[in-house]
Symmetry: D2
Subunit: 292 residues, 4 copies
């Protein structure tokens, strides 16, 4: 268990997606990995908070971060972003990639819209709004109202596939480092990856899909010294959003009942630096008093 | 365990999707339920075989079947089909719905196209071809070449959501029958719903999603006396296609190693007629000698 | 799905253990299998109710049943009982064996005694009481008070191993019947086989062990056409005991919330007569309104 | 993620069981925790290697270790050992307890003896040999021949229960430390805790039981700030024994295919020092190239 990074010819890159809130798991990872020697590429759909995190990390001694806005986690967009990341730091290697994108949908099954479940038929191309205006309008409305943002299957599964392909295609170009890997891909997941529940059909389908993806990749690419891991986050995380929604005065100071993003980041750091003889596919993380 | 159907004011309807091959699980179910007193609505994207099954079932004493072609299992198309089914047999109740649609994708992860994984951005609306021509062309090409057909996430998960909403909305209108249910929804699934594997990332994500969906629905709607079940089919099924692909002269006469669709249909019949005090969510079915 | 038994040179035997209450799953199986053509061997530690079930089954047209008391489900005792069963009906084949023995322990972990968890060191041999008198006395006291009876690990796992060995050793001698099996072994299990919970450590360890056993056996002996299945019973079953404990006037007439043993027996009948091309390892059974 | 231990009034104790080989997981944990500030109590049935590890740890700067031989992991013996540990270091707190005891049985089901599966009826009390001499003789013979040693259910489950009760009873007396726990209990487990397989019935039943136990305890005692974790070790570990059995000249120098006990110990260190807002119940560890 090391707090120093492996040796590379130049400072390596850690890509983190889903940092929109500016306060959750993705941001905590960006800060920790940024502080300990990685260049950090932050990807998000909501860009207000993006620059603040970049500025903070760039303020660390030796800190280097950059923001990469994305409109949707589809193949084309994700490819474009990975190309921009490589162009930003020529010759640097992407050694850690954290797919932390997702959106929680919890509503009675019969109230789920196609938008909640899957993707807007035309959401892939912002220019083809006309092909399904009502869905897209709905998407924009949700976004405007800050109530909903994206959709479970698109965000979790299809986005996860696109992100994984870009990450693994990058990793395959690199030499095995002193820890024994060419790269590490980590997925942020949830208890809904283990079981379905009333009102959770859409979210559970998305997270089950992520779990299947991560397990398949772990088995397929372990032999190529690419490490794929899946983190079950079980419980409320302290973020700007949850604080507003669930918070009480003492809520976010009680680590027995809420997950501190910094503690999740520590777990991800450990996963990202395990020696090759003992790699983890799945880890679960929950507060001490969480009922499960 | 009964081989006679519950009493209804008129002959009830069993909806079966995914009957394209004319020889697999869906068709065996259609034949069995058609023989034992259900009107059978057959839904498929590939219509060549559709009429043959309908003709056969209509030839049974009292047999009644009709074909309902569909272009894709999205919300709009599935809604249209359910409306047409109800219009075909006015006043009859849809008491069993079998979502048997799916497509197996098995290829190295980096060879997966967006098309394999998810849906064509514009596939939902056949009229909006222009929005993503290359994907749609690919879809048509696959279909023309009979090599691939649809995509794992679209077919398994998004299609499953649309089908489930239509089925459950129908069931909720009906009285509880003598077995204790308002309707029974059964999903055809696979071992990939339990675990990911190399080359199976797309298929496993789809089937994991189906499993999550079915479990969430079972828990949400059991209390409304709607029964949702999930069948893990583990092993090769004798169909026109597998016979061509895997068959040896003796292959499909050896029930120790291949699944007979008629035996799967028997299991579905049992699931569809369990008394309310002992309902099954998940059952697995495999040949005696299958390694697992 | 048949309600008639396969053809044998003489009437076959169905062995059912755990029929002590006279009213639960084991008894319902005994009645159903006895009515439909099996000789039924009833095994139990508590013999008061044993004779009543035997008498009832013998009263059926063609019914044949016999009681086989046992002191504990250990190797020696179980072997003895299987020998006695074969001696009772010379030449008849044991084609179905249902291990329905178990005991539910639910108490705070720190209150669990060694007796709850494992077996009395000397319980195996009623004659060696002196080797651990306090445990044995405790056992007898529990038994006398009808509060507890046996222990989770001994009853579920060790008893299950002994019973399985005897059943499988018998099955291996027989020809493959028209359904494609030499014999069918079914375990009664519980939701605790899927997950541990507070106060359920001992019971969950036992049922997890049963599940592992049944899965290992299914995989090892399927190739020899021996079918092993595992039934998760999730919810309260109507028995003499639960009626006393949980019952309200309307309780046991509401199949939405309680399992009817007769319905479980129907599921076991289906499992015991599946054709070899589509065998089930695991099935779950719960009332329509059960929360899970 | 810290490499320094929390503050206590005096040096705390880490109890590690199953250190018989002198070279495996238990020993690596003892060395790591011994080096980083814990007094280490080593428990084992096979005492030849026990003293060597103690001597090595006592040779570290500030190292303190002691050996606690045990004849069997039953309640009486485990209680005695915990008492001796407390007597050895009066006033010191047992803050970490690692149940690393187990024995792998892999043989065709019908060749399993009662001894492989469960415990000798009289093994609990070495003085009551007479109660079941043949089993006990078998035990001694196995031990003498170094072929088998103990039994799956006794060692994994019953021993695990006894060890857990002693550990938790100790933890409950302590204050919450700066990491947020009163104590941490970790179980060494195996892939057999996730699935049964041919020839693995006895081992899988044992490890499934351990998993159920650990999950139940995690849920019951998390609320009391006692952390219980379960580690799935999937693959061959380099030990004196596996080196003799599987080793080739290059075998144990290839971390892509064998687990290094020191890397497992690092994972246990991380588990034992997670902050309370993000505790792990289950982690899996396997070499990069392991097929699973």
């Amino acid at each position: 268990m090391t707090t120093t990074i492996p040796k590379y010819s130049q400072k390596p890159i850690c890509v983190v997606s889903g940092v929109g809130s500016g306060t959750g798991t993705g941001n905590a990872c960006a800060r920790l990995f940024g502080k300990r020697g990685y260049r950090v590429a932050l990807i998000a759909r909501y860009i207000e908070s993006l620059q603040a995190a970049v500025t903070e990390i760039n303020g660390y001694e030796g800190g280097e971060a950059a923001a990469f806005p994305i409109t949707q986690y589809n193949k084309a967009e994700v490819s474009r972003v990975f190309k921009e990341i490589k162009a930003k730091w020529p010759g640097a290697e992407i050694r850690v990639a954290i797919y932390n994108t997702g959106h929680r949908v919890a509503k009675p099954f019969l109230e789920l819209t196609q938008h909640d479940i899957g993707k807007c038929p035309a959401a892939a191309a912002a220019t083809s709004l006309l092909s399904d205006l009502s869905c897209w309008a709905n998407f924009l409305a949700d976004r405007a109202s800050e109530k909903s943002t994206d959709e479970s299957v698109q965000t979790n599964i299809l986005g996860g596939f696109a992100f994984s392909q870009e990450a693994i295609l990058s990793f395959r170009e690199y030499a095995i480092n002193e820890l024994g890997n060419r790269g590490v891909l980590i997925f942020t997941s949830a208890t809904s990856a283990w079981r379905g529940n009333p009102t959770m059909a859409a979210f559970a389908a998305g997270k089950h899909g992520v779990r299947a993806l991560s397990q398949s990749l772990n088995k397929e690419f372990g032999k190529q010294n690419i490490h794929v891991a899946h983190a079950i986050i079980d419980g409320p995380i302290i973020t700007k959003i949850t604080r507003k929604t669930f918070g009480t005065p003492e809520w976010d100071t009680n680590p027995d009942i809420v997950l501190n993003p910094a503690d999740i980041a520590t777990a991800y750091w450990y996963l990202a630096h395990q020696p090759r003889s003992a790699w983890t596919w799945e880890i679960d993380l929950r507060p001490a008093h969480e009922t499960w």
